[in-house]
Amino acid sequence: MFSIIGLLSKWMLPAILAFIPLYGAFRKVPVYESFIEGAKEGFPTAIALIPHLVGMMVAVSIFRESGALHFFLQGLAPLLSWFGFPEEVLPLSLLRPISGAGSLAFVESIYRTYGPDSFVGRLASTMQGSTDTTLFVLTVYFGAVGIRRSLYAVKVGFLADFAGFLASWLIVSMVFG
């Protein structure tokens, strides 16, 4: 199963890369000029993201490096471990939605301490792999088009992450527990 999906992933990109221009040529589209026209938009879009991303990543960095994140986790720990959630992985549930690099570094520290094949290692893997960095995705996608008011998107993102963590805990306990 995995080898098929792995093979598919490896071939997907070259296949798309061959198919789109070929189809374009077949449809009499001047493919190279069309590519350049579209590509022109890439640069300003990436640059327009800078203020949004700087603003968000500065705040996340201060929150993490100052120890404030750690402090809030300690406050949360007794509450969640009361439900039986493994204390070692707990910080990940707060870190994952706000910082992609930070949560990945945390997963590495779990692997180093407990090993990737331990229960907490498997749980951390599943939690990290099953959701994306909500705050980052929000900043990039809305920032790129200049959206300032995000309605209920933040709430939905964080609540869905939480649902994902509960599901990870449940399934890892059932499969590997």
Partner: protein
């Protein structure tokens, strides 16, 4: 809400640093965060330029439209606010497919293109539309078939079976995506009722 989260992270960080008598950490953390952010954006330039070029060919040759037609009922159900023939549909589907197949690099430019197309339908360009929130919900829940980064990391740390977490991850990501879709629906209804 983003305003409050942002303010909260900065102020609580400064208070925490001051309380521990290591206020100098704040300046270092701020500058470090800023330079990381710029590095991310610079890294995005090449990806965005490349994929937006390729996707323009797909758009000019009507391929994107064809692709959108294939899965129209599903996407129409998810995004009732977007006209069926709108170019945003093709980009939304490309974004979802790229995410599914683990082409994270391609997913971001396509998602941004989808947002740009949806922005054209937006009466108030500073405020997100419900359709934009739906696309965002699908992306933040991180729907993917194979978590490639994690598998690589497990390999690096000598896991005996690095891929054993694919099944559990797939289950969890389906749950969080389902939760995202349902929550999005619920909040959208509430938002639309409030607007009436």
């Amino acid at each position: 809400m983003v305003n409050y989260i942002w303010l909260f992270m900065i102020v609580s960080g400064i208070v925490a640093a001051a309380a521990q008598g290591k206020i100098e950490v704040v300046t270092r953390a701020a500058l470090q965060g800023a330079s990381e952010a710029v590095a991310v954006c610079i890294g995005l330039i090449s990806i965005m330029v490349f994929w937006m070029g390729i996707m323009r060919i797909a758009q000019d040759s009507n391929l994107l439209q064809k692709f959108a037609n294939l899965l129209r009922p599903f996407v129409q159900w998810l995004f009732p606010g977007i006209p069926a023939n709108h170019p945003a549909m093709g980009y939304i589907l490309s974004n979802i497919s790229a995410n599914l197949f683990g082409l994270g690099n391609a997913a971001t430019p396509m998602g941004i293109k989808a947002m740009e197309e949806m922005q054209k339908l937006n009466p108030d360009p500073k405020t997100a539309t419900p359709a934009m929130c739906t696309l965002l919900a699908l992306n933040t829940s991180g729907l993917t078939l194979i978590p490639t980064t994690i598998i690589g990391l497990r390999m690096k740390y000598g896991s005996l079976d690095p891929t054993e977490i694919i099944g559990t991850t797939l289950f969890a990501t389906c749950c969080s995506t389902l939760a995202a879709i349902l929550l999005d629906r619920w909040y959208r209804r509430r938002h639309e009722r409030a607007a009436l």
